[in-house]
C-alpha cells in the first residue's frame, strides 16, 4: 500500500505507535520509518542511546522509549522527515505534535494553522506553540502544534491557512460561519438537528451536503461525542432543487 500511496496503513501506524503507558507519561519520538533503507542518521544523532544500534545499515530504527527525552535531534536529522515528537502530557485535553518543516515562510508562535494528516487532509485547528528554526538556512526547522489529544497520532503536517478559523463559512447556502456554529454548540445545541433549526445551516439548496460533516466534527471536538453515534437529520426529497412549475408541465423551466 505505502509503495503506491505514500501513506501508511492503519496497521503500519499501529506498529510504530508508542504504547499508551509511555504516551501518558512522557513526550516521545515517533519514528515513522516504514521501509528498510540504507540510512542511520537518527541513530548517530541520538545522544541518549534511545535508538538501538543498527546491526545492518538497512535496519529500520528501533526506539527505546524509556531513554527518549524528546530532545528532537533525530527529528531534524532524519533526511526522510519521518520522525515526530508527540507529547500527550501537554494538557488535560491537548497534545503537542512536533514536526520537521522545510518550507518557508515558517509559521509564528501563537498562530493558528490547519493540522493535516499523513495524506494531507485537514484534521483540525492547531495552535503553533513552538517554532525551532534550523541553525543554517538549509537545515531543518521544526514546528510544534497543540491539537486535541485524540489527534496526536493523526496530525503529521500543517497548512499555514487557518481553515478552521471562526470566520470560515461552512454552510455556503446560508452563509453560516464556524464561529456561529461554535457559539451554538457552546449554548448547548449539540445535535445537527438542533443546530440546523436554530441557524438554518443545512436548510439551503444543497441540504447540508457540505456543512453536515463539518458540523459533526465541531460537535465532536466540543463534546467528545463519537461521530458514528450522532443522530443524522432526515434526508429529504427532492435530492436537488426542482422548479415547482416542472411538476405541472414544465412551464417553470426557463
Amino acid at each position: 500500500m505505502i509503495e503506491k500511496t505514500g501513506v501508511p496503513t492503519k496497521e503500519d501506524i499501529e506498529e510504530i505507535t508508542p504504547p499508551k503507558e509511555i504516551r501518558e507519561k512522557q513526550a516521545v519520538a515517533v519514528i515513522e520509518c516504514y521501509k528498510e533503507i540504507p540510512c542511520n542518521p537518527c541513530y548517530t544523532a541520538c545522544k541518549f542511546g534511545a535508538i538501538k544500534e543498527f546491526e545492518d545499515i538497512n535496519d529500520r530504527p528501533e526506539i527505546i522509549y524509556e531513554k527518549c527525552v524528546a530532545c528532537g535531534q533525530c527529528v531534524i536529522k532524519c533526511p526522510g522527515l519521518a520522525i515526530f515528537i508527540i507529547d500527550e502530557t501537554y494538557s488535560e485535553t491537548e497534545a503537542t505534535v512536533q514536526i520537521p518543516y522545510e518550507y518557508l515562510p515558517l509559521p509564528k508562535e501563537g498562530d493558528y494553522v490547519t493540522a493535516l494528516d499523513r495524506a494531507g487532509r485537514p484534521v483540525c485547528r492547531a495552535k503553533v506553540v513552538k517554532v525551532r528554526k534550523g541553525k543554517h538556512p538549509n537545515m531543518t526547522s521544526t514546528v510544534t502544534m497543540a491539537v486535541p489529544k485524540e489527534h496526536s497520532m493523526t496530525v503529521r503536517s500543517l497548512n499555514l491557512e487557518d481553515y478552521f478559523a471562526d470566520n470560515t463559512i461552512i454552510c455556503r447556502c446560508e452563509g453560516i460561519t464556524l464561529g456561529e456554529i461554535r457559539q451554538l454548540i457552546s449554548e448547548g445545541y449539540t445535535t445537527i438537528d438542533e443546530i440546523k433549526r436554530i441557524s438554518r445551516a443545512g436548510m439551503g439548496p444543497c441540504q447540508g451536503r457540505t456543512c453536515r460533516h463539518l458540523i459533526m466534527q465541531e460537535i465532536r471536538n466540543a463534546t467528545g461525542q463519537n461521530m458514528e453515534d450522532m443522530l443524522m437529520p432526515t434526508f429529504r426529497q427532492p435530492t436537488k432543487p426542482v422548479k415547482l412549475g416542472l411538476f405541472v408541465g414544465g412551464e417553470g423551466d426557463d
Partner: protein, 382 residues
Amino acid sequence: MTKTASVVIIGGGISGCAIAYNLAKKGVKDVVVVERSYLTSGATGRCGAGIRTQWGTERNCKLAKFSVDFFENANEILGYKRDIEFKQGGYLIVAATEKEVEQFKKNVELQNSLGIPSKYLSPQEAKEIVPHLDETKILGATFCELDGHLNPFHTTEAFAQAAERLGVEIMTFTEVVGIDVEGDKIKGVHTTKGYISTPIVVNAAGGYCRQIGDMVNVDIPTYSERHQILVTEPVEPMQEPMVMGFSLNIYTQQVPHGSFLIGRGDPTEPKDLRITSSWQFMEKMAKTACDLLPALGKLAVVRQWAGLYNMTADAQPIYGPVKEVEGFYLAVGFSGHGFMLGPATGQIMAEIILGEPTTIDVSDLDKDRFARGELVLEPSVV
C-alpha cells in the same frame, strides 16, 4: 435515577414549552418537560407557523387574538436574545365558492365585533395586496393585517429558555414509556432516563397523545393525520401576507428569509402516524400553487417534509383535566392550528392546572364533549 416533580409535561413542542413557562411564571416549582427527541421535533418544527385572527368561531378568534398580542412582544416578554421572526404581513384568505363568500362575510362580521380589523375584499382588491395572484380564480377574499407567521423553532426556544430560567427542567432525548396510576390518581412517569414521581401529568404529545392516553387507559378522541409541506429556494421579497384558501386547498407564505412555504391538506389521507413524504403531494401542490399564484412555478423546491395534525371531530383543541384519572391533563387535538394557539394554550392550561379562572373560557372544550355530542364546530380550516 429517581426524581420528584410537581408537574411533568410530556412533549417539547410549542404547547409543552408554553405550558411549562406559564406554570413556572406563576411560581410553580419543579416543573419537568419530557421530550423524546429534540425540542420542536414533532408538529411544531414541521408546521407552517402561520397565525391568524380570522376565525369562524368566537372563541378561536379570542384565542388567536390573545396569541397575536403576545407574539407582538414575545421577544421582550420572554427575554429571547435571538428573534422569533414574527412577520405581520397579514393573511389573505381567498374564497372560491359561493358558500365560502357567504361564510367569509359572516366571519368578518364576527371578527369585527371582537375588535379584529379584518375586511372583505373583491378579487381586484385582493390582487392589489398580492400582485402575483390570479384573481380570476377567486370570488373574493378577506384580509387582516394582524395576522402573519413566525419561526417555530425560535418561538419554541424562546418559551423553553424562559422556562428554564424560571427553574423548569427540560429533558430532551428522553421518552415517556409508562405512567403509574394508583387509585385513579397519577403517581409518576417512567422515562428512558429514570422514574419521575409526580401528582400531575400534562399530555402535550401532539400527534402521539393517544399513545400517552393508553398509558393511563384514557381514550382520547382524536386521530393523527399526515400533512405535507414544501419549501422553495429563497428569493427577493414578493409576497407580504400568507395566502390561504380552504376549498382551493392551499396556504403559502414567504418567510423573512425569502423562501416560500407551501402546504395543503389531503382528504384521502389515512389516519395514522406516518410522516413520510410523497411525490403525489408534490404534484398536486405544484398544480394548486401554480394555478392560483403562477409566479411560484419559477421557484425551485428545495425540500419537502411532513408532520402530524392531531384532529378532533370539531377541529378545536381539547383542553383540561379528564374525569377518569386525577392529575391527568390534556392539551391536544389542535387540528392543524396549535402553533398559533401556543401562548393561549400555555396561559390557559396553567390556569386550569392551578384551579384559577381562565383568561378565556374553554370549559366546553373538554374531552367528553364528543361523547355528549356537543361539538363546537370551526368552519374555517385547511
